[in-house]
């Protein structure tokens, strides 16, 4: 019968091309220009300077933001200092009410925030929608709960606020890092001046609008924009009592020098070069998913990215074959497409840094694998990359690349795995993949890393403390521990 033999040429075509599925952006209002958020209001910068923020996927300008210089930083810190006393003395349950309200508003505006985060930073909408924004709201919600329970958190001690907090955050998780910084600070009764990264200021400025919506008392949260100079002015301001920084180890060291001897509290969350360790008894297909998530999540712009894969030699060949097949299926492209797995590199400067390190890997003799995916013509893009034949001495095995680049090394015994994993100046995170519970515990005892994930990777929860060893920094964020940097305890 003819009807059952329909268009055999069309049927022979087995390829499944997904049509574009872009997230709508018409519900988002980005102002052409943003002032500084100081004392509860958006004000023109006294510096008189502005700079553009662009969409890294298209290189088009999204908006213009102010550059805060000395007079503006002074003004912001003064606003925070004058709000400090009344906010610190506010009945804790009242304080909690404001923070809960902010968390709810974040949830209400989550679609808008997700789109802005993807537009400004280049991350896939599925990540900003399903990870960044929900986690940020959960973090704020969690610390709101601590605000009136501080005396139970630290029994027989008298917790008190430390004062104005100067907080500087990175561009990889703009709103989430803002939440990690602001939520515990406010819960503990401090006021803050926060500076988002110069390439991703927009979600913080939307957060400023949310503070207005929540009727937060003026001066409790101040958002100033600018680059390294602004950050340096903020952390060295004499009225700032507590400095919190997340970013590169290089800048972290500069900050530590700047605050040395000033009596300021300091917490640093810096770089990493995490080992993701796969034993021969691991559930391999799920380990492959964990490796992919570990290094290609957010284009590898993750301080705890599993950038060194340590795989047991007996399964290395099989695992790598599976890994290459899986990398071929990654969908690289428009961050606003709901089917995109890997988005745009955050900035031209970061792209150049990644390219430089990848070239060094080739020069030092490592073998490269990249899937044959097409990249958009405009914007900043880098193919997911796997390096094999990497040795401990290669730069790509030692330096933080902060991009979608995985270095694969092998080991023979658990002891060798620990030795290689710990042989790095960093110590932020690690992953262990094995079916053996006892081996997980054995490894966890020996790995010098702030977080060890077992049979999973990049999993976050507000109740769980996060932070580093060695050059990955000090101080913990999240959980009860995350309150400590923001409190004085008598």
């Amino acid at each position: 019968m003819a009807i059952t033999k329909r268009s055999s040429t069309a049927l022979a075509e087995h390829r499944f091309e997904y049509e574009p599925a872009p997230e709508a952006i018409d519900h988002v209002n980005i102002a052409p220009r943003y002032g500084l958020f100081i004392g509860g209001k958006f004000v023109e910068p006294r510096s008189g300077k502005w700079f553009p923020t662009i969409n890294p996927a298209t290189e088009e300008q999204l908006s213009e933001v102010s550059e805060a210089l000395k007079a503006d930083v002074d003004r912001a810190v003064t606003a925070a200092a004058s709000a400090q006393e009344s906010w610190g003395r506010l009945k804790p349950s009242r304080r909690a009410r404001y923070i809960f309200r902010i968390s709810r508003l974040l949830q209400e505006r989550s679609r808008e925030l997700a789109v802005v985060e993807s537009l400004d930073g280049g991350k896939p909408i599925k990540e900003s929608r399903d990870v960044d924004i929900p986690l940020a709201a959960a973090h704020i919600f969690y610390y709101a709960g601590w605000a009136d329970k501080l005396e139970w958190a630290f029994p027989n001690r008298r917790p008190r606020p430390v004062g104005v907090c100067g907080q500087v955050i990175p561009w990889n998780f703009p709103l989430l890092m803002l939440a990690w910084k602001i939520a515990p600070a406010l819960a503990a009764g401090n006021t803050v001046v926060l500076k988002p990264a110069e390439t991703t200021p927009l979600s913080a400025l939307l957060f400023a609008e949310i503070c207005q919506q929540a009727d937060l008392p003026p001066g409790v949260v101040n958002i100033i924009t600018g680059a390294g100079k602004t950050g340096s002015l903020l952390v060295s301001h004499p009225d700032v009592k507590k400095v919190a920084f997340t970013g590169s180890t290089e800048v972290g060291k500069l900050i530590q020098k700047a605050v040395a001897g000033t009596g300021k509290h300091l917490s640093l969350e810096l770089g990493g070069k995490a080992a993701n360790i796969v034993f021969d008894d691991a559930p391999l297909d799920q380990a492959v998913e964990g490796i992919i998530n570990g290094i290609f999540f957010n284009q590898g712009h993750v301080c705890c990215a599993g950038s060194r894969l340590l795989v047991q030699e007996s399964v290395a060949e099989l695992l790598l074959a599976k890994l290459r097949d899986r990398v071929d299926t990654l969908r690289v492209g428009d961050p606003l497409d709901k089917n995109t797995d890997v988005g745009a590199i955050n900035s031209r400067a970061q792209l150049e840094k990644i390219q430089g390190l990848v070239e060094s890997g080739l020069e030092e003799g490592a073998e490269i694998y990249q899937p044959p995916c097409e990249l958009p013509a405009k914007g900043f893009w880098f193919r997911p990359t796997i390096f094999t034949n990497v040795s401990q001495s290669h730069r790509i095995a030692r330096e933080e690349i902060f991009g979608p680049v995985l270095s694969v090394l092998t080991f023979r015994t658990p002891a060798e795995a620990v030795e290689k994993a710990n042989n790095t100046p960093y110590g932020l995170s690690a992953g262990v993949w094995t079916e053996k519970g006892s081996r997980i515990l054995w490894m966890t005892e020996r790995l010098r890393a702030g977080v060890v994930w077992a049979n999973t990777y990049n999993r976050f929860d507000p109740t769980s403390p996060f932070g580093g060893y060695k050059e990955s920094g000090f101080g913990r964020e999240g959980g009860l521990h995350g309150l400590l940097p923001y409190l004085g305890l008598n």
């Binding site: 009807i3 059952t4 390829r15 997904y18 049509e19 559930p283 998913e289």
Partner: protein
């Protein structure tokens, strides 16, 4: 046959089949469920879902009249739109094979019959072999057998294996689909183990469920079986097909299974020769969505035939 038992023996000596992590596999299946399939790709997927469908009726109340209606629907799912393709096969009990063969002669629609004391499989191996032989003799192109879950769960892997080998022999040139009944196996580790065992014993397809036990097919359990098929192909070079059956009722679910298939086994498996959807009530929802994509409007259920 000569190599397969040694594979099994080596497996038991070297620690057996690799394990599956429950949390991670469910997470992966759920994340692929979030793919957004639109416009032309949706139409393509919906038509493929029809071409991959085993239109099923497995009721004690099935009659020649019911089979006639089902076969009509299988050949021409949408009488108003001749561009809609036929389904892959009809799936029914052995006593109704003859009727189906008569109605489907000259079409591309295959006759699939369940056998081996479906759905429980709790009878003598000789009876199962005889049932299979008779089903093939009556004209079945495909045999859907069930594994002996009692033997599997009590560690009698060899018994399960030998039985599949004998049924495969009895099938002759008919295709053998081996139903694992994953809802009774209790863990993803067991699903993976049973998949490898069935493929090693000669299955042409492995199939999730009978549809008589809950849970039937789920995206996660199907993913585990796809991963086993992928590993078996890597190891032996043989491409085994896969059938998800039971509980797939909406076009959206069907498209999610196709996404899972595409991103796990790739384009080579995007064909009715390698993947089937076993369903009794899925077809009309797919037709409804297809009409929606073509006309821009949803039609009332009364515009789709009930067979």
């Amino acid at each position: 046959m000569a190599t397969a038992p040694s594979l099994l023996h080596l497996g038991s000596l070297m620690g057996g089949v690799r394990s599956v992590d429950q949390v991670a596999v469910e997470e992966r299946a759920a994340s692929l469920g979030k793919r957004s399939i639109k416009k032309a790709s949706k139409v393509w997927a919906l038509e493929l879902a029809i071409r991959m469908m085993d239109l099923t009726t497995l009721e004690g109340a099935d009659t020649p009249g019911k089979v006639a209606a089902l076969c009509g629907k299988a050949i021409r799912p949408d009488p108003t739109d001749h561009s809609v393709p036929s389904v892959a096969a009809v799936c029914l009990y052995p006593s109704l094979i003859a009727q189906a063969v008569q109605h489907l002669r000259g079409t591309t629609v295959k006759v699939a019959s369940v056998a081996t004391a479906f759905p429980s499989g709790q009878t003598f191996t000789t009876v199962k072999v005889t049932e299979t032989r008779e089903a093939v003799a009556a004209g079945a192109d495909e045999i859907d057998m069930v594994i002996d879950r009692g033997a599997f769960l009590s560690g009698g892997y060899q018994k399960v294996y030998d039985e599949i080998v004998r049924i495969k022999e009895a099938c002759g040139s008919a295709h053998l689909k081996v139903i694992l009944e994953t809802g009774e196996l209790g863990s993803y580790d067991n699903v993976r183990r049973a998949s490898i065992l069935a493929m090693a014993a000669g299955a042409d397809f492995i199939k999730t469920s009978t549809g008589k036990i809950q849970p039937a097919a789920t995206p996660a359990v199907t993913l585990v079986m796809m991963e086993a098929v992928r590993d078996f192909h890597r190891e032996t070079g043989r491409s085994v097909g896969l059938k998800a059956a039971g509980g797939i009722r909406t076009a959206k679910q069907a498209v999610q299974y196709l996404v899972l298939l595409y991103e796990t086994l790739g384009p080579d498996w995007m064909t009715p020769n390698r993947f089937r959807l076993g369903a009794s009530s899925l077809l009309n929802d797919v037709l409804m969505q297809l009409a929606r994509e073509k006309t821009g409007a949803y039609q009332s259920a009364d515009y789709f035939t009930i067979d």
